[in-house]
Amino acid sequence: MKIELAVRNKIIKDATISLFIYALPVVALYVYYQINGGIFTEKSLTLQTWLTFLKPLFENFRTWGLTVFLLILGVFEFGLGLYDNKWTSSERKIDIVCFLAPRFILTPVLAFFSLKILPVVLPGLENTFSWVPFWGGIFLITVADDLTQYWYHRLHHQVPFLWLFHRTHHSAPYMGMAMASRQNFIYTILFSQIYLVATLTYLGLGLPALFVTVVKSIITLSAHSSIAWDKPFYKYKVLHPIAWVLERVISTPATHHAHHADTTNDGVGHYKGNFGNMFFLWDVIFNTALISRQFPKSYGTKTYKQEEWYAQFLWPIFKSNKEGSPLARR
């Protein structure tokens, strides 16, 4: 199955624009140093005083805090009956495996990449960018992480042979915090942006990376959650100006749930767009956005056959035995 010509041309056009967006943080730093008379010190990056107390908070969140946040969110969702009767034993198996496996496997893989591979591939360059001011590092990591994930995600929707690596994330007929980690493992282990952030961390941008990744985790988890925190912003007119800004800048439950709908072209569902993870801004820039402030009636994918957890988790290593499934042996 080939990619449609119009889709391919739009990918090429938007990817070209992205090259300029990637360059923006570097340009911003150049302008900053020019304005400051080119003053440049090579001392290690230090955290501003008012942010110092936040650092242990963010470090703890990134290690164990995130898991606790997820579990609390999950308990709330379950307690509020938000999974209805859709969380069957089959779906539970997939969600639990997808939740646990990356925590046990991805962490050592990333550690190996950072501690063993990078020093060989980029010898002597550890912390070479420690001169980058904190705000510059935030800008760099934000673009590096989130724009890259936008592209990784978008390509898995628009390039036919990549879709089956991402289908697991969309197969569930419900939304919830577990959806954020419900992924085919090959999709997860090859997330380009995590290796990009690891490389930039090795090069000296670890501190801004810490802050960006924590904030991003909160936004993306909240966007997948079945607790629609954004609804009051649509309901109360006095909050509408805030809603207008929020929904165009970050991923909200409304815009991300639209992405998980099993419909499109109905004014609400939009699985052909709304690809943003932390920032919805990329969808606005590349015209892949649909903002309706409504929530889809149903989620998932029309081709879902309740495939086995191992096929959804590790296709094409394991295939499904369900007849008619795209994950079945061909």
Binding site: Y22, Y33, W131, Y152, L155, F161, L162, L196
Partner: protein
């Protein structure tokens, strides 16, 4: 896994590498250039 599966995996790894490498080239490459420029 069939040969076709291996080919798909190889293509996927290739896509992932390109999506990693091009941003790295621009960001890290840009910072290296900036570093040299500012040191002058």
């Amino acid at each position: 896994m069939s040969q076709k599966d291996f080919q798909i995996l190889a293509k996927k790894i290739g896509v992932g590498f390109v999506v990693y490498f091009i941003p790295l080239l621009i960001l890290a490459g840009g910072l290296f250039l900036l570093q040299r420029l500012l040191k002058k």
